[in-house]
């Protein structure tokens, strides 16, 4: 069948890149998500004066793998009264949406995951929002009240916060002038400034909204453990449950990547345009080397020989990374690799920092109540984001048409937005106080309260 073979070859030639990328996403993403979980647990443990996972591998380094094995081997329970097919399908919808939206991302100039489509940001935002279908369907199909309430909360939350997030993204896109991911980063490089400094309000709004969109604390109401047991995931177990979990962490990576691309200069090094800051280039290899050294130092202290070996292995890996990062700097012949390798490093570092802030907030703040969440979204974030887009547009017109200094124009409009935000906060507090008064208000102490 030469025709069929030829067609296959043709197909492969055309789509080899995306195919390999999709394989990589499916294979690597669970691992990355697992290690993000491990990092989260370690960070949490450190903030809470304890150690976190310590048993599987040195400092719990193999814990994600053990967890994955456990989840795969666990019994997959589907409740009797559940809607079998929808229950079965829902987690797949969530995880597919999360993985698909990664396709358009670029981790550095040389690491475009699938294809640099010209509506990249739109694609990412649009596809990742589809994940909500998995949550709503799963919650509905479980035939449990907890799941249902979780699903409803999740739907309402996404609708409310997606609007604000979209508006914030529009601010970034106005500055970047394109929806294409590569172009946006290149525009930041050309202007020599990260867009977070030009549109801080937009970045802040996007950050808050993205926490809410990924159902993370303090906006983790759809799965609020103390109220709804596990929200939409209550009836799920084993591998199906882990798919939801995977989707959540994949979504975190997606929103962090979008924020990094749009506001944090993508794969640009900090101070890339300042000449005398060139030494920053040497930080990444030194950092990796430092971690390797620390692993070697800790290796003899591990209690089990296997753990010593694993620790040395980790040290070797870090040393390899250090070498990889150092080669383009030290070997003039390999200089052309620098942009790719160092770009990827900075991108991952920024994504990591963004996710770290997510974790930090989670361990610090209590959870919002549902009405408060809605109030924050509709009374504060959405108005501010709309005002911000308009103000930014005015600022840009001033700059482009009337040659006003860019910083002056945007600084003025940002100030204006902040004033309006302050007014909104004040109005909200007033409304809250009135509501409190109406609900019963501060009582008066009993007339005959008796002091013993």
């Amino acid at each position: 069948m030469p025709a069929a073979l030829q067609a296959t070859l043709e197909f492969l030639r055309a789509y080899a890149g995306p195919l390999i990328a999709s394989l990589v996403i499916v294979a690597v993403l669970p691992l990355i998500a697992g290690y993000v979980v491990l990092v989260e647990r370690k960070v949490m443990a450190d903030m809470q004066a304890r150690l976190g996972p310590m048993r599987v591998g040195p400092h719990g380094l193999l814990q994600p793998i053990a967890d994955a094995v456990k989840l795969l081997l666990k019994e997959d329970i589907i409740p009797e009264k559940a809607d079998f097919w929808i229950f079965w399908l829902a987690p797949l919808v969530s995880v597919t949406a999360a993985m698909l939206s990664m396709a358009a991302l670029a981790f550095g100039p040389a690491f475009q995951i699938a294809r640099d489509i010209n509506v990249g940001i739109l694609f990412v935002v649009g596809i990742s929002s589809l994940g909500i279908f998995g949550i709503v369907l799963g919650g509905w199909a479980s035939n449990s009240h907890y799941s249902l309430i979780g699903a409803l909360r999740s739907a309402a939350q996404l609708v409310s916060y997606e609007t604000a997030a979209g508006m914030a993204l529009v601010s970034g896109l106005l500055l970047g002038g394109s929806l294409q991911i590569r172009t946006i980063v290149e525009e930041q490089a050309r202007q020599g400034v990260w867009f977070i400094f030009l549109a801080p309000v937009a970045f802040f709004i996007y950050m808050v909204a993205s926490i809410a969109e990924t159902n993370r604390a303090p906006f983790d109401l759809p799965e609020a453990e103390s109220e709804l047991v596990a929200g939409y995931m209550t009836e799920y177990s084993g591998f199906r449950w882990s798919l939801y979990f995977l989707a959540e962490y994949a979504n975190m990576i997606v929103v962090a990547s979008v924020a990094t691309t749009l506001f944090l200069g993508g794969w640009m090094r900090p101070f890339a345009s300042v000449r005398w800051m060139g030494w920053v280039d040497f930080l990444p290899p030194l950092l990796a080397l430092g971690v390797a050294g620390y692993c070697v130092y800790r290796a003899p202290r591990q209690p089990v020989p296997v753990q010593k070996l694993v620790m040395l292995g980790v040290a070797g890996l870090c040393a390899l990374v250090a070498l990889l990062l150092a080669v383009p700097l030290l070997l003039p012949a390999a200089f052309f690799l620098k942009a790719g390798i160092h770009g990827a490093f900075w991108f991952v570092a920024k994504v990591g920092a963004y996710i770290f802030v997510f974790m930090w907030l989670r361990f610090t703040l209590p959870r919002y109540r549902f009405d408060q969440l809605m109030r924050l979204g509709w009374y504060f974030l959405i108005p501010v984001s709309i005002v911000n887009v308009m103000a930014l547009g005015v600022g840009l017109v001033l700059h482009w048409q009337y040659r006003v200094n860019l910083w002056l124009a945007l600084g003025g409009t940002t100030l204006l937005t902040l004033l309006i935000a302050l007014w909104l906060v004040w109005a909200d507090r007033k409304r809250e106080a009135e509501a409190l008064q109406a609900r019963g208000g501060p009582g008066t102490p009993a007339a005959d309260s008796y002091a013993g």
Partner: protein
Amino acid sequence: MADDPKEQQPPPLGSAGEKPAAPGAAPAPPKPVAPPVPKAPPVGPAPLDNDLVKRYRARFGAAIREAVEDRKQAILVVEREHLAEIARYTHDEEKFNLLSDLTAVDWPKREKRFDVVLNLYSFTHNARLRLKVQAGAGESVTSVSGVWPTANWLEREVYDMFGIEFAGHPNLQRILLPEEWQGFPLRKDYDILTQDQAWVRENLGIESGQ
């Protein structure tokens, strides 16, 4: 003040050294820690006749069957039929507005076997008062949950454990035990090893170990 700290106890019958040694016995080494128990402790029920009791007697007459003081705590035994008005008076006029506790005691040999006991506290006077009502088997006691809403659950518990009915209670059901349980565990004729075997078999699917 019905619950004042205790006044000084009379000295014990004598320290170990003064104890008359039994003739012929070797002198016992003095015990430092545990001298003998006082033979006649000055505690126990005694009739009470203070202002509070006088007010009650003046108002309710024979409905106040007894007024005693035990361990410096005032107790009024009242007629079952008049509990409602006495409770209302106690709450409104005497200002005993906190119902600390409502419980019962079973005296199976007595003619009226149950005591329903109300432990009251007054914020105004910083004093406690105990009301007691006697009820025979099968007799119902007026619910005081209209006077002290606290009594709601407490009366349910008494019903649960003793089987005393409270007339006018809004929702007289078992509270701690399952609704279908047979028997009233805190009655004296309910042995400590007794169980509702049928319930255990049916609901837990096991033969009771007792």
